[in-house]
């Protein structure tokens, strides 16, 4: 009987020892992992700091200005181009609507019938509904409303007051090759 108990105890001891050592080594391995990860985080943070500095170096206003002058056909907004919504009246829209529709399109763009899907790289592999892409269009593409839509200032005012007005989806015309 005593022998049996002794054997049991010895087995239990070995089992405990194994479990404890196993746990201990696991914990030590985890500790090493943590230390390694901390070091990695620090390295990454240093790298982020360098990248942020570089980003901000590349975003210096004078550089952006130089690049914009070189690559974009844009100019600083003139005061007469800045209009607040409450100062837009229906007359402005009438005036534009009665003019020949072709003038509305930037002249460089081809005939309005050449409607294609939006050439967003990687996103629009299938012909996507262009309505949702308004915001992520690459700067090269231009969104133009279908010319026959009667736009009224009241529409826009309503849209601005959050009620979703049914607006026809914008049709995107692919720009000429540059």
């Amino acid at each position: 009987m005593l022998r049996f108990i002794n054997i049991c105890l010895v087995v239990a001891l070995v089992a405990f020892a194994y479990t404890i050592y196993d746990g201990k080594y696991e914990a030590r391995a985890l500790d090493e992992d943590i230390a390694g990860l901390r070091k990695d985080i620090e390295t990454e943070q240093d790298a982020v700091a360098v990248l942020r500095a570089e980003w901000s170096l590349l975003n210096r206003p004078e550089r952006i200005e130089r690049l914009a002058a070189k690559h974009l056909k844009l100019a600083p907004a003139r005061p007469e181009q800045i209009v607040t919504l409450d100062r837009v009246c229906d007359r402005d829209f009438e005036r534009v609507r009665t003019e020949p529709a072709d003038d509305m399109l930037p002249t460089a763009i081809g005939p309005a019938t050449k409607v294609k899907s939006v050439p967003v790289s990687g996103v629009a592999s299938t012909p996507a509904a262009p309505a949702n892409l308004d915001d992520d269009l690459p700067t090269a593409t231009k969104t133009v409303k279908v010319k026959t839509v009667p736009i009224k200032a009241s529409h826009i005012a309503k849209a601005a007051s959050s009620a979703p007005v049914v607006m026809p989806p914008p049709v995107t015309v692919s720009p000429p090759q540059e």
């Binding site: 090493e32 230390a35 500095a53 901000s56 210096r60 600083p76 005061p79 181009q81 003019e99």
Partner: protein
Amino acid sequence: MSAAASLAERAYFAKSRGRYRIACLAFALSFLAIAIRLVSLGFTAVELGAGGIHDISTTVHRPDILDRNGRLLATDIKGATLYADPAKVIHRDELVEQVSSVLPDLNTGELLEKLKQGKRFVAIRRELTPQQQAEIYELGQPGLGFIEEYRRVYPVGATAGHVVGHVDVDNKGLAGIEKFIDDNPQLAMSAPANDTGGDAVTLSLDLGAQHVVREELVNAMSTFRAKAAAGVVIDVKSGEVRALVSLPDYDPNHREQALDKNRLNRMTSGVYEMGSVFKTLTIAGALDAGSSTLRSSYDASAPIHVGKFTIEDFHGKKRRLTVPEIFIYSSNIGAAKMALDLGIERHKAFLAKLGLLSRFSTEIGENAAPIVPSPWARLNTITIAYGHGLSVSPLQLAAATLPLVNGGYAVTPTFLPRPRTAELQAPRVVKASTSQAILQLMRLNVLKGTGKRADAKGYRVGGKTGTAEKVVGRHYAGSTLLTSFLSAFPTDDPEYLVLIMLDEPQRVEETHNEATAGVNAAPTVGKIVERIGPILGVVPKLPDDQRKFDEKVLASY
């Protein structure tokens, strides 16, 4: 077996059982002690030796500095410092030779000398580039080591140099906001952390506006061949400085440039007789005290003689002038007479109330103290009325003008964000009606007077030109001028104050051989306002007939 023997054996056993128990107890106790020690060792965290020689950092980590839109103006990146431990060096000459192959501008003789002295630490070069560090590592020379140190970089360079300031090699703030951060460590603690989890201090500066002001001043300096230029844009309602430029400036990445006296911050560290822009203050004082009204008129037909001095008008009209005329024709005689009407004491008290007679300071350091005449006699009041005889720093003048254009509240300029409601807590120093009148006069001056060229389309600029003669030797020299333009826009509800100053602009062809403020400082302000207006979100207003609703804009709706 004899009974005696067995008895003796039994006694022996009884005795040894006691010893046996003691021995068992001793073993048990020692094993217990070992077990306890093992467990306690298991609980204490193992300090893993961080590998290599990159783990020491001696410089302090500084918070990032951001502009009001979160654009980075200053940040820390890690850089390595190369050092040698002479005790571990094997071949001194070879080491020096190899290191100098990577760092060609190294002073080899000096390094060799230091290595021979046999200390345990010889710093060779700070702020190594990663490239250089890798190359030195490749040398595989024993006795060389690196210390990782923080190194301050200023990505926008000179653009915001005078405001941000710079640090020394140990990353301690020496000037500008950097120094302020060191003196006020709570700044970074209260600020929200940036996206890398570090501290950040946000300024009131707008990098876009700062760049525009700097660029236009650089252009103005080269066009008018001026020696120096300075400009400041302040939010009149909160006192936040949106842009502050002083040229020539320095790149804080090259801190040695800051030692050059010519690159000091003229906005805060230089004092100047600012000239006719002071008439704004004189007229404000007279209107505020009620000694004159906008309808008062003064005889400006004859020069004033005081002792051996004669005060004349530059744009002389030789007739009686009303107060608005005094302002837009910039009549020295008229301004002097208004100041005399106000009275010497009240004139002085008004300037003191605006803070022009005492030293004032901002976050980027103390301004140079104004040079106030003592005693303050009648002649002083006469000359100070048109801006001579009292030297102040341009930023101090801008600060003194804030109450005149914001409805009367003494808002102090600040480089830290402050909400626009701040004006309500600031003490009122002039009447709202005075402020209104000054704005009208300033606008009138741009529409009809000397400031015509400052009229940025749509932004309703109002301002006053100032052309001061500089003292050369002991006399005022007619050809060395300091021109300035003090303005606010939009005048119907002012949001920003713009003050620029050009030091010794020359008569150039572009200005029809003139060098007064109306032809150089005023157009510079016009160009600045035109560009910073949209950046700072000021809505331009044009008469309806000039407003052209752009077809292309409509097409993009």
